[in-house]
Amino acid sequence: MPRACLHLLACLLALTFARAEDSVSWEMTPPVAGPGQPFRLQVRIESDVILGPADRVGRELKPPRGMALRFSGQLFRANTTEATLNFSGVAPEEEGAHVIPSFNIRFPARLIKIPAITVNVSTATGFRREGQARAELVMPTRTYYVGERIPGAILLKGSEQEMVNGSFGVECEAEGFTFQQTGARNEELPNGQGLQTGFELTPIRTGTSEIAINGIMLVNTGGFGGFATQGRDRPFTFRRRVTVEHVPETGRPAEWTGAIGRFLAESVSVSNTKPEVGEPIRLRAILAGEGNLDRILPPELASNETWDVVPGNDRRFRRTEDQRSFTYTLVPRLPGKHLTPAIRFAVFDPETRTFQRLEFATQEVTVTGNAPAKVELVSLDPGAAVGTGKPAAGLATPDPTHRGLLDRGVKTVAPLAASRPFWATNAVLASLGLTLFAAAAWTAYLLAHPEILLRARARRTLQACRREATAAQDEIGFANACVRGLRAGCAPWLDAEPAALTQSDIRRVLPQADAGLLDRVFRRADGDKFGSPATSALRAEATALLALLAELEARL
């Protein structure tokens, strides 16, 4: 028993000592330095005791020949077991691996040994010691095609004198292109001496045009580590004349559905390899590669004797993974071992200007169950929720000879309501109808009120008689005109023929008229007919007679 306790204690001590190992890691920025390039070295220490601040760090530091290295500061927190120490230095002029020898760092609680650190120096990093910061446009130089995705990047390269700290306002002015930035806006270049901004261009129409990409980069002109640094904005502009064409029609396969780029058939899978007859399964194909994944139409799969195919609605597109999946619902119609329909795909490679065919491998599926007597095509997506299924889709066979009702063949598909002749015809018809209606109404009114016409006719006759009486030279003519006028003016009131009216009828209409005057004018006019012509002169009473006619006309 004591021996067992001792063994247990020894194990615990061993574990304790093992736990007491200090963890030291380091990171150099940039990972590979150019000759003479400043670099930053960060050393992180994790211990099992509270470390506190390091003391006399740079004393044991012995950089290799040609390398400048100094301790630039430390980060520590009270009562923590972690510490971070920063060193800055300048890489040697000679290429190769330069080793910083192992050195010790003294903490109040412990002395920690830092292992040897290797600094790699290479001229391939693109480090520039002198020169202005500059921007470079990286884009494929070739003919572009409508709908393709053109990746590009703007490299903002600095130097030791001018460092690029950032950029903003990157925009593209181009007719017929869509522009979209991708990834992080200011991603650091591998050599740590600049930034890069990625973007994508998509041509949407053909033609030759000029694209202009503008932006502003932030340049620090004070070099590394200086306190008197000065920042300034420096704009940059790229103009490039490009030609955009449609994907060539020569050699274009029928199964090409808009894919431009370089793709490969990543994988194809079925949800169930042993379904029953009529049991829907999902066939999923994943396309991967670089190109316009989001603009590709899913390849069509036709139903056949073995399978009913319903296209799925899977539009998943993961830009970060450069993948696109196509999903179909397959419904087996017959039992037995069958292969799923092959998904054939055509891709246009803009670099080689050729079409390539892709085919997703067929999958073997064992269908169980019995064949129905008559197999009907499915009309709904069996994978969809109840009530939300869309009818099975597919293009119908075109029939250009088909015409609809009133479909007479037009140059412009415009509504009849926008036709001026249509409304002009209706306006004419409306005017005609209104006119006829008004005429009919007026006629009906006149028929209902015949006295209006009688009075109008009497008024016209009376006016003519007045003019005739005024113009008459002899008395007999004057008397005849006056009597005719009196008879015509009184006839509408008595509803009688004018010629049938007598002197007494006139007095019924004009009771205030002078009876003697009426007697004299009637005897003068009609006296010859009855043998007692008047002998008195009427000229003296012409005014009174004409006034009588005027009164009658006014009453009409």
Binding site: T178, A254, G258, P398, H402, L405, V410, K411, V413, A417
Partner: protein, 253 residues
Amino acid sequence: MRTWWLLLAGLLAAPLPAAEPDADAGQVAYAAGDFVGAVEKWQAAILAQGATAGRLAALGNAEWKLGRKGRAMLCWERALLLDPRDPVATAGIRHAQSAGGIERPALTWAENYASFLGADTWLVLATASFWLVVLCLLLPRLRRRAPTEWQEKAVVAGATIFLLSLPGLWGAHVYARRAVVRQADIFLRLTPTARGEPVSGVAEGDIVRTERPFNGYVRVTTADGKSGWLQAREVEPLWGGGLPANLDQKPAP
């Protein structure tokens, strides 16, 4: 002699083949997978003989095969304007919605009602019934006689048809304010300005309802109910054109 007469009568009675060589050439090209050739043939037929529902729907199929979603949807929608029951255009739009991811606003009750007949048919019906009623009301008055029984029946029938055609006219009016998005990768903007904030993306071929225009932009509502502004050149209305506009050509000054 009698045999000759029978032969002549048979020849006269035999139906003549349809004299549409261009359309047939388009069908042949389409069946052979030469969709570019089919598009050219059918476009030429439409320019020469006018646009019919069948030709537009066939052209839409060929455009879809070439991956031109916007042009295809426009052809199919215009075919449905000419013939709301065109089977090819109906199938094409269903296919575009299910397989092509095209978004199309659901029809309102008035639009559903209007889709029973074409917009022109509704207008002709309404106009004809209106004038029938007017004529049957006016004729007895002009003749100064009491309306006959058939005139009264015609008035009732005409008024009924006129009233029934009013929802159809309204639905056709609302339907006519739709447009097809012709540009790819564009966004609805919050304001009708060049610096308008993008609200939501719309894809080529999507159908939107258009509202008022302003400043070279037009306010639209997408199928999922989002409203915003699109540039007027980014959409093409259903009414007012034969073939889809060629966006590669700059408009004449």
